[in-house]
Symmetry: C2
Subunit: 336 residues, 2 copies
DNA sequence: CTGAAAGCGCTTACAG
DNA sequence: CTGAAAGCGCTTACAG
């Protein structure tokens, strides 16, 4: 069964395709088309189950009404809720979102970006990885609507929205210091991306200000070997350095860290206090509950969409800034 | 900066658009185009950063090379990893996947389905909700490639892939019975979809076979009131009926249930044993670990893609069946 | 008030 | 070996 086209309907009612197109697009009165013809066309379209071919519409109008969203990993809870909120927000403006995961692999990221370009998306929402600089610059040069999220490239002038990483880590560190912890470790990943640098710098800064702790204690976990090896790295680090508190720089590090802490047999917070960046069902349900810096995911998504919509000329509200940092929420639980 | 088209390149090198098209599509030798021209075209395309307009290609060829995936909720870990595996598998066959969440809302589901149709996806992978019957039938009538996942409509003849729900619940119930539990409750949702019915029926069946337990003990949680109210329903049910074991029918019910159990102050498994359908980071990390029936997510995704590819005529391997049930993995932890 | 025509950017049978 | 032409299904300025 072939799908019915505009032309089919035109033939059926004995009008021209253009007239049918006007009617179906709600321009009947504007084009002073008779109500009789209008109703006939509408009825026929409905009866025949007409669905416009969006591919043709897109080619003709130059607009796909699709936004391309690239996140690091859609199966990570932070990115999943980011994607979900963005999808819902975009719908409000009549846009559909297609999303994919870069898996933090720049080759994959670049390929996906090109694919989005070839599919003619109207705008881009990207959490870039190292290595995507050139392709991002290309989008900027083409003056395509673009908002980076969670991170950005300091050397490239684009809109972006992220959590205030420095402020969040500062808040967490102050909490630990005030509670009297004197040997606070920071566990992060070996990444060149700005958001991880910001977090680590804030830790370094906090230590340099501390009267009690003189030495940084940083582990950069290498993920190349997979999950088990990552846990081993954390275990070894904790055993060797014996900190009294640990700050995990991302939610997945925190999850691995909890496994590691359990394997060693340390009890939280007596042997070791724990703070983690990003909230998560696991941290809430864990016994004891884990103290976290929760990212304002919904606000990040909403802000990103608003900035993008402004670039697309779809927004009434004029935003002042297109480079935004939003404060994290400090949630104190029993782990500290 | 406008994007460069085939025609631009043709003009640039002084050849016709058709020749350029053949070269760019790797048909140069087949069309006996001179190596000189070929290299010139390739070099020019590269230099000018040519990217084919897939919208135009799709309109012309009638193929988008896009699959539409509709899951219940992408921020649920089960569906997130399903989506991820499907995306990866589809890539192997040269297809891109666009996905969305129905949120178990049939109106939304139907709208999304139409949107996929209008976008001319080449095939559909759907976890349907109640109320999508008509639109699913429409797809079947149009003979569009379609595979349902996780559930299906008994009255509509489509391909589908799901876990063996009955077998999984049976396995879990036998485990509980063998461990000596005599008052086993089943907590599920108030859903008309087949997969939930299958799970509940298997519970009923197990109870009817049991020598020790005569009466079913079933709670159907109503989600309309949101998360907190759902927890309240579980709390009240557990307090009132005081079972010695509870079987949660989905992962999100299990998570809510753990909160509820904690709120009541019951200890697992002494006061109450727990088994849950679907595995999850939380169940693995929970103290005590939660015994689960893990769905073979990757196998489900792979099987679904293979069936779809067969329908699309892309597969070498001939599958015998297009309605598949796959066994769950029983993972015993400390909660039972 | 309504229709014929051009064109979006491609691919591919057809002609030479 | 290469080019001119048709056509995918729409939208929209133009003509009457």
């Amino acid at each position: 069964m072939k799908r019915v086209s505009l032309k089919d309907i035109a033939k059926m009612v004995g009008a021209s395709p253009s007239t049918v197109s006007f009617i179906l697009n709600g321009k009947a009165s504007q084009m002073r088309i008779s109500d009789e013809l209008k109703n006939k066309v509408l009825a026929t379209a409905k009866k025949m189950g007409y669905q416009p071919n969006q591919v043709a519409v897109s080619l003709r109008t130059g607009q796909t009404k699709i936004l391309g969203l690239l996140v690091e990993d859609i199966s990570n809870s932070f990115f999943a809720s980011l994607a979900k909120t963005i999808e819902l927000e975009a719908e409000e403006f009549g846009y559909k979102v297609v999303y994919s995961s870069t898996e933090n692999n720049s080759k994959r990221g670049v390929e996906l970006l090109r694919m989005l370009t070839q599919r003619q998306v109207d705008g881009y929402l990207i959490t870039p990885t190292v290595g995507m600089e050139e392709d991002i610059e290309m989008i900027v040069r083409h003056k395509k609507p673009l908002v980076l999220m969670d991170r950005y490239f300091p050397g490239i002038d684009t809109a972006f929205v992220q959590v205030d990483n420095a402020g969040a880590v500062k808040k967490g560190m102050e909490h630990l210091v005030n509670k009297g912890y004197k040997k606070i470790a920071f566990i992060t990943i070996d990444s060149g991306m700005i958001q991880m640098k910001q977090r680590e710098e804030a830790y370094t800064e906090a230590i340099s200000r501390s009267a009690e702790q003189k030495k940084k204690l940083v582990l950069k976990v290498n993920f190349a070997g997979g999950r088990e090896l990552a846990i081993d790295q954390i275990t070894e680090f904790l055993k060797k350095n014996n900190p009294d508190a640990v700050f995990f720089a991302t939610n997945y590090l925190g999850i691995l860290g909890l496994e590691s802490i359990r394997a060693i047999g340390l009890s939280i917070p007596t042997d070791l206090a724990v703070v983690c960046f990003d909230d998560n069902d696991i941290f809430r349900l864990h016994l004891p509950g884990i103290t976290v810096l929760q990212q304002p995911v919904e606000a990040i998504a909403r802000t990103a969409i608003h900035i993008l919509m402004q670039q697309l000329g779809n927004n009434k509200i004029a935003l002042k800034k297109n480079q935004v940092q939003l404060a994290a929420n400090f949630i104190s639980r029993e782990s500290t």
